[in-house]
């Protein structure tokens, strides 16, 4: 498989095509809990997700590194960053999480992208009326 193709025309011009090269994937997720008063802190949220990873993928899953880049406690939305090779494991464990401190809950995955930039320019957020 050819990953890059380079053309050299002038001293300045250069074009490189990178395929599947993003080291990370980014997820915009939202935690929905049936008890509205529950507001986990960012550390509690991260711990909670790690617990979910451990439940589904064992100790190896719990060791997967991911970052909570941004967390809004009011809306319980977060931007996560995960090494691309861990994306499927993180996503699957988020899907199967169903209870937070004995309350029903679910993670809604709103957007996933290899580019963090894409998360701030999602045309599905366009509200006109």
């Amino acid at each position: 498989m050819r990953n890059t193709d380079e053309k050299e025309e002038t001293s300045v011009y250069r074009r490189v095509v990178l395929k599947n090269s993003s080291p990370y994937h980014y997820m915009r997720v939202c935690l929905v809990v049936d008890d509205q008063r529950i507001r986990p802190s960012v550390v509690e949220l991260k711990n909670f997700i790690i617990t979910g990873l451990r439940t589904l993928h064992g100790q190896a899953g719990a060791a997967i590194n991911f970052d909570v880049l941004k967390y809004e406690e009011d809306s319980l939305t977060a931007i996560l960053r995960i090494y691309s090779r861990g994306l499927v494991k993180l996503w699957s464990s988020l899907t199967l999480i169903s209870s937070y401190e004995n309350h029903n809950c679910a993670f809604r995955v709103n957007q996933v992208s290899p580019y963090l930039l894409a998360l701030t320019g999602n045309s599905r957020d366009l509200q006109l009326d």
Partner: protein, 356 residues
Amino acid sequence: DATQHRSEELTQTPRHLLVCERSSFQDEKNRLSTQVEMLHFNYKVSVLLPECSSAPSQLDSVLNSFTSFYLIKNLPVHELLDQHFLQTAVFQGCVYALSYRTRIDEDNCVALMPNGRLLLSLDKDSFELLGFEGKPSRFNHRVKSRFVVSVDLTSSCMAPGGSGYLRLVSGLKSRLNLQMDFLLLHHPGGGASLQSLLSRYASSEHRPTISQCRLSDLSCPVLESCDPSDAHSLLEWLGAVDADISWDSSCDFVSTLVCPEPKMTLSSALRVSVCGFLTPQDIQRLISELRCYLEQSRLGSWVSLTVHGFVDSPVSWGANEHGVLKGGENLYTLLMHHDGTYHLHLATGAYDSCPP
């Protein structure tokens, strides 16, 4: 064996492409304006001006003069083939139309491109009801669950009154009866040539929304070399600035995000974004204005501009079919330097072709 195969599958991600281009405005063969023009349906443009605390007045006036667009409700798609509409709007300049709040991974989506090409991205049932030539979508051609009908309204075989024209109109009108909300604009001239259409249906005019934010003490990578191997860390940094992600996380446990090295601190920076239904022509004007701004500013300065295409557009660049698998991203970032050179990064997701 099977276990190993499964664990390999668990580490794979959908295909994505990033094109990194370096060129110069002085180079006569630079293709920037073509590349900008080819992305027809733009949702958002955001600009980052380092060492700048308030937008220069010329830039402000360009931002405020972005073309207004219209939202038109429950428009029967055959109205886009209306003879009067074709003659007053489509054949005179460029009409941009895109179905609104339709999702290309589950709904029927329609777009009218500025060159007069009408695109219908239809599910299998709708396509069969329509009874018009089309091709299976390239992204699921095996299961054939989605079809793309692409018609050049300016070609002689689609001349109003001709057999091809009548077949498509009757398919859209009596068999499929497709209606949807549309974002619509006309370039140049704004709404005048669209009036007869707009007056017959519930419609509203919208201005693109402008937002400005002043940032201070921003950690910033030194943008000298900009090697393609650093492209992702540069895009991540720009993304973090756009998403208001703080760099100095107090807690390593929560986030290990750091500003790429070598880095510096910008005492101030201005982030401006425009959101709505934006034409490539307006973005082109914004780029020229930013070039003027750069020429007047001091040595070594730069400006970045990021444009996001519509996720649910049936095309991305040119007539390249576009779809959503996970993200549907089609975006580019232009990093312009003081000396006239620029770096352009064009990115697409799984259901897309290689950007131009």
